[in-house]
């Protein structure tokens, strides 16, 4: 069977990453990399809290122009500040969880993000959420391929499985 014939049988996968919780983002990237590694075309559409994963600054930074945007962006933080959805213990849990993951040879979030990029997973950011938070393209990591609206996201996902995280 030819490669293209097989590929058409597999549905594309689109993951809407709304959450900025460490554990939920982890689930999104496990599904994305697993699907991409088993020959599916994968897109992750990041919106609202999910945008924290894409910020160039992994820590806390007061991004945006207005006072409220700066406060929100500072408090929301970047990839290294994602809270656990439960039992966050004031932000201590994600690093505890990461050490448990390493102990059990489970890929950590940065490893999964790197793998997703290497596998060609398409990372796109929600235009509307970026506007609200006054974030610019330059505030996001280079791996972000596009900034799109809901119409583009729906058109591109017409024949795909859509998972909301």
């Amino acid at each position: 069977m030819s490669e293209t014939a097989v590929k058409t049988e597999k549905k594309d996968l689109t993951i809407v990453c709304f959450s900025g919780d460490f554990d939920k983002v982890l689930a999104a990237f496990v599904m994305a990399t697993g699907a991409a590694a088993t020959n599916r075309k994968v897109t992750i559409f990041f919106t609202f809290w999910g945008l924290n994963v894409l910020k160039k600054d992994f820590g806390r930074k007061a991004l945006g122009q207005g006072f409220l945007a700066k406060v929100f962006n500072f408090l929301m933080g970047g990839r290294n500040k994602l809270p656990l959805s439960r039992l966050n213990f004031g932000g201590a849990s994600p690093s505890l969880m990461t050490s448990m993951m390493k102990k059990h040879h489970v890929a950590t979030l940065p490893e999964l993000i790197e793998a997703a990029h290497a596998l060609g997973v398409r990372l796109v950011a929600c235009e509307m959420a970026l506007h609200i938070l006054e974030l610019e393209r330059d505030d996001l990591i280079e791996e972000v391929e596009d900034i799109v609206g809901v119409a583009t996201f729906l058109n591109e996902s017409e024949n795909a499985h859509i998972i909301f995280v």
């Binding site: 097989v6 496990v30 991409a36 590694a37 020959n39 793998a115």
Partner: protein, 72 residues
């Protein structure tokens, strides 16, 4: 022949590492993968075949581990 041991990896890095290694190889080259029974054995060879690669052999090497030879 290239070599890859994924017995210490868990899902999804089992698939990810095999896929990325094969992507870097030239057509015609072979890859020896050592993997565990269960999920990796059930799905890694099948997923390679789907991509158009050839699974030349699968043999048990003891301890629940298997050696799979894949040709790109």
């Amino acid at each position: 022949m290239e070599f890859l041991d994924i017995t210490h990896e868990t899902c999804p890095m089992t698939f990810v590492k095999v896929k990325l290694r094969l992507a870097k190889m030239e057509a015609g080259q072979e890859l020896e993968v050592i993997l565990n029974e269960g999920e990796p054995l059930n799905n890694v060879p099948a997923s390679c075949e789907e991509q158009g690669y050839q699974v030349l052999s699968i043999e048990a090497v003891g301890d629940g581990k298997h050696r799979v030879i894949i040709k790109k």
